[in-house]
């Protein structure tokens, strides 16, 4: 574990109904960054260098997951800055919010088997050309928890082709496709690689005691390292 680099400030947004915000903050600290609490009603990003949209059920996931959260005051700032290159990682509900906000293409729908599913999921890292995956190797297999009710990634054929062609699929499900995601997609990025959405939960795989592995840590160290390099 690297020493705490207090100059790297990563914001974690808490929406009403966010659940994994404390876990995301813990993961950032373990990766050597400083976690900064952001509130959905904030109209200021507190000078953070990057943002994590954590998992949970923002606004109860009523209507559609992420549909109401995208209109939160803090989101208009994040959307604007993300277009300018601010690194943003959306995990699970955060991924749903990024799709609803059109920062990422496609959408997440009800699992094909219609149940919530919590399992230790094997993934293959497909792209390391993003802000959040550079500490992995392409082809690396990892196991991290997955837990969602609406995690089926869908998009039209053209978009799917484009995502693969441009290397924007960052991880795919291995052995089991747990939710019916098209082409086993577990996570994607935008063209620039600063915005990443991931359905499984790397923040729950950062301690041997509580997670199935330590495979989640590189998502956060990737960001910390890139930001240290940048400053």
């Amino acid at each position: 574990m690297s020493a705490r680099i207090d100059s790297v400030r990563i914001g974690v947004v808490t929406f009403p109904g966010s659940l994994d915000d404390r876990d995301a903050a813990r993961a950032i600290r373990i990766a050597g960054g400083e976690a900064v609490e952001l509130w959905h009603g904030d109209s200021d990003l507190k000078n953070v260098d990057a943002v994590v949209l954590p998992g949970g059920f923002s606004y109860g996931d009523y209507l559609r997951c992420g549909a109401i959260a995208k209109f939160a005051p803090v989101m208009s700032l994040i959307i604007e800055k993300a277009h300018q290159g601010l690194p943003v990682l959306g995990i699970c509900n955060g991924f749903q919010i990024l799709c609803e906000s059109h920062l990422l293409p496609g959408a997440l729908t009800r699992n094909d088997h219609r149940h919530f599913i919590c399992r230790d999921q094997k993934l293959r890292i497909e792209s390391t050309d993003t802000f959040w995956t550079s500490d992995f190797e392409v082809g690396q297999e990892i196991v991290i928890p997955l837990k969602n009710g609406e995690g089926g990634y869908v998009a039209d054929e053209k978009t799917l082709d484009q995502l693969f062609a441009e290397g924007r699929v960052i991880a795919t499900y291995q052995e089991v496709n747990p939710n019916g995601s098209y082409r086993d997609i577990a996570g994607i990025s935008n063209a620039r690689g600063n915005v990443v959405g991931l359905m499984p939960h790397p923040e729950h795989a950062v301690e041997a005691l509580t997670g199935p592995s330590l495979d989640g840590i590189p998502f956060f160290t990737s960001a910390v390292r890139a930001l240290v390099g940048a400053s």
């Binding site: 209507l63 559609r64 549909a67 109401i68 209109f71 799709c99 609803e100 293409p105 496609g106 959408a107 729908t109 009800r110 699992n111 094909d112 088997h113 219609r114 089926g152 869908v154 998009a155 039209d156 019916g180």
Partner: protein, 81 residues
């Protein structure tokens, strides 16, 4: 007083696991000849006063941005009084 009903359905090309499950169940429970089932959402919205052009436009916009996700869903909107 106006009542607006917005129906939201998954686009035909998007898999509808709930509709599929209902189709299976209907068949098992004795309803023959079901060729397709789609499950959507219905919003019944009650509004005070007249539904003027401005509010009507807002409603239409929100039906397409908030109540449905254009990437995967279509909507219809009907007004009754």
């Amino acid at each position: 007083m106006a009542r607006v009903v917005v129906n939201v359905m998954l686009k035909p090309e998007i898999l509808d696991p709930q509709g599929r499950a209902v189709q299976g169940a209907l068949g098992r429970l004795g309803l023959t000849g079901v060729t397709d089932v789609r499950q959507g959402k219905q919003f019944v919205i009650d509004l005070d006063g007249e539904l003027d052009a401005h509010r009507s436009a807002t409603l239409d916009k929100l039906a397409g941005e908030l109540l449905s996700n254009p990437v995967i869903e279509d909507f219809t909107l009907t007004v009754s009084d």
